[in-house]
């Protein structure tokens, strides 16, 4: 089979199926032809080039490939929908952010950081959307559920992996802050360039986002 036909079939498959298609399922489109992952890769690269100048693009997600419209055409396409897409509330977004960056995290921990109770409605909504899931139960009194994000979450927000989340702002160490806040002390102004995160002020869970950010740098 010519690679050109492989390309046509792969393109049609990506457009015909709802979910992102993995390399494995793309290869399995051709049970009778000897098509390898290499061929598919070649074809996907070709498609990427084809779409370079177009309103659509090939997106690689964590578990597969998806064709989607480009950001650039959004202003025109949004006219087609009568209703504006639902805006996510700040409460939901903050809860989601905590789950994404701090997973596994319990509801109680989210409440501690946000300083307010997390409404069950928000949790249920995100569960229903399959953005979050229960990763297990913590072995402490009450056996609270540990929450984490899902594949669907990544796909929905166009992320390949958790590492691709925008990096978390750094925490300034307390001494720097104390200087800023302490009106009585006439200490020298802290050097902007020296504001570094000191490890002792960080909670243990900070390790996760930091790791994420470092990994992100290297990818």
């Amino acid at each position: 089979m010519e690679l050109k036909q492989v390309k046509n079939i792969v393109e049609a498959a990506l457009l015909a199926f709802d979910e992102p298609l993995s390399m494995k399922s793309l290869v399995s489109l051709f049970p009778e032809e000897e098509i390898t992952a290499n061929d598919i890769n070649q074809v996907l690269n070709d498609l990427e080039v084809d779409y370079q100048d177009r309103g659509i693009e090939l997106k690689k997600l964590s578990k597969g490939y998806r064709l989607q419209t480009r950001d650039a055409v959004q202003p025109w396409l949004q006219h087609m929908w009568e209703q504006k897409p639902k805006k996510l509330s700040r409460a939901l977004l903050e809860t989601l952010a905590l789950i994404a960056y701090r997973q596994p995290i319990t509801r109680g921990e989210i409440e501690d950081i946000r300083g307010v109770a997390v409404s069950s409605k928000i949790i249920h909504y995100m569960m229903d959307k399959e953005w979050i899931r229960i990763l297990g139960y913590r072995d402490v009194p009450g056996k609270p559920a540990m929450l984490g994000t899902t594949q669907t979450f990544l796909n929905y927000f166009n992320l390949k992996a958790l590492q691709d989340l925008p990096s978390l702002a750094e925490i300034k160490d307390f001494e720097t802050l104390e200087q800023e806040l302490d009106f009585d002390d006439l200490k020298p102004e802290p050097d902007e360039n020296l504001k570094q995160t000191s490890s002792d002020e960080q909670t243990e869970s900070d390790q996760l986002p930091d790791d994420i950010n470092q990994e992100q740098e290297s990818t």
């Binding site: 064709l67 959004q74 409460a91 307010v116 009106f183």
Partner: protein, 282 residues
């Protein structure tokens, strides 16, 4: 939170000279009065309480806002005023969303505590051992602010259905047979387990086989009423099912009655009892 010290004085001067005169869009209207500025002190004017609770995600959010606006000096809180306000709140609590407002109260109390600890004279020993009372609050504020920012960042990510759309074409399924559905009994049981655990943490152990057999019987009683208008109560009991079966049937009927799912009719005293469906005429 940088430059707080620098801007604090400036802010104080500004608010001192011309309070509430900035020509801003009102952020809220309370009982006809527009609020163009956020409260300049920590605690909320009682008549704006409701609006302000809605505008902010919580006490930390409010506090951050106040700090950003340079209106609040964390280190110089008039304790007399705080206490007065505190009492006013408690009076308001009766009419308001108590749970939410309580979180603001906790914050006010925390600030009062900080202030009072700052006022206490320090010995050298204390300074060594005791942490700055503001440290915990500042840590929490910072931590919250990070995620407040992260939430905005996530909101800014291109989103399916808002910024980008999945590209798809119509697939003609004329030759395709019935779709295959991926579902196992494990999926079903786990789904039930999870949904019940979410609904009520205590329920996990409560679902026994007995309960299900009652559920099963409730369904078959309703089923018999789908084909017949009325069913003789006695006919529900089968000799071969024994005492156990009779008990299950009886419980099922009681459950259905309790839920207004069926009605019982009896023409005369000690006469035959019949079941009939309750809302069938819809």
């Amino acid at each position: 939170m940088s430059d707080i010290a620098n801007n604090q004085e400036k802010a104080n001067q500004q608010t001192g000279k011309q309070p509430l005169q900035q020509a801003e869009m009102p952020f809220a209207v309370v009982e006809g009065k527009p609020f163009t500025t956020m409260p300049t002190d920590l605690y909320i004017p009682p008549d704006a309480l409701e609006v302000i609770l809605e505008a902010f995600e919580g006490p930390l959010d409010l506090l951050l806002y106040l700090i950003r606006r340079q209106n609040l000096d964390i280190l110089d809180i008039p304790i007399h005023a705080i206490t007065k306000q505190y009492v006013e709140y408690i009076e308001l609590m009766h009419e308001m969303n108590f749970e939410l407002a309580a979180e603001y109260l906790v914050m006010a109390a925390m600030l009062a505590e900080i202030k009072s600890r700052m006022l206490l004279p320090k010995t050298h020993d204390d300074e060594e051992s005791e942490e700055d009372p503001r440290a915990e609050l500042i840590r929490r504020l910072q931590e919250y602010e990070r995620f407040k920012q992260a939430a905005e960042d996530i909101d800014g990510l291109p989103r399916i259905g808002r910024d980008v759309w999945e590209a798809k074409v119509y697939l003609d399924k004329q030759t395709e047979q019935e779709e295959i559905i991926d579902i196992t009994i494990q999926d079903l049981v786990m789904a039930f387990k999870e949904v019940m655990m979410r609904a009520d943490l205590k329920i996990s152990h409560a679902i026994e086989r007995e309960v299900l057999s009652v559920r099963d019987r409730m369904t078959s009683v309703l089923d018999s009423l789908l084909s017949q208008k009325t069913v003789n109560f006695k006919s529900l009991f089968k000799r071969e099912e024994g005492k156990q079966g009779a008990l299950v049937t009886f419980l099922a009927v009681l459950e259905l009655l309790k839920a207004h799912s069926i009605e019982l009719v009896q023409q005369s005293a000690f006469g035959e009892i019949y079941l009939q469906s309750s809302g069938g005429e819809v």
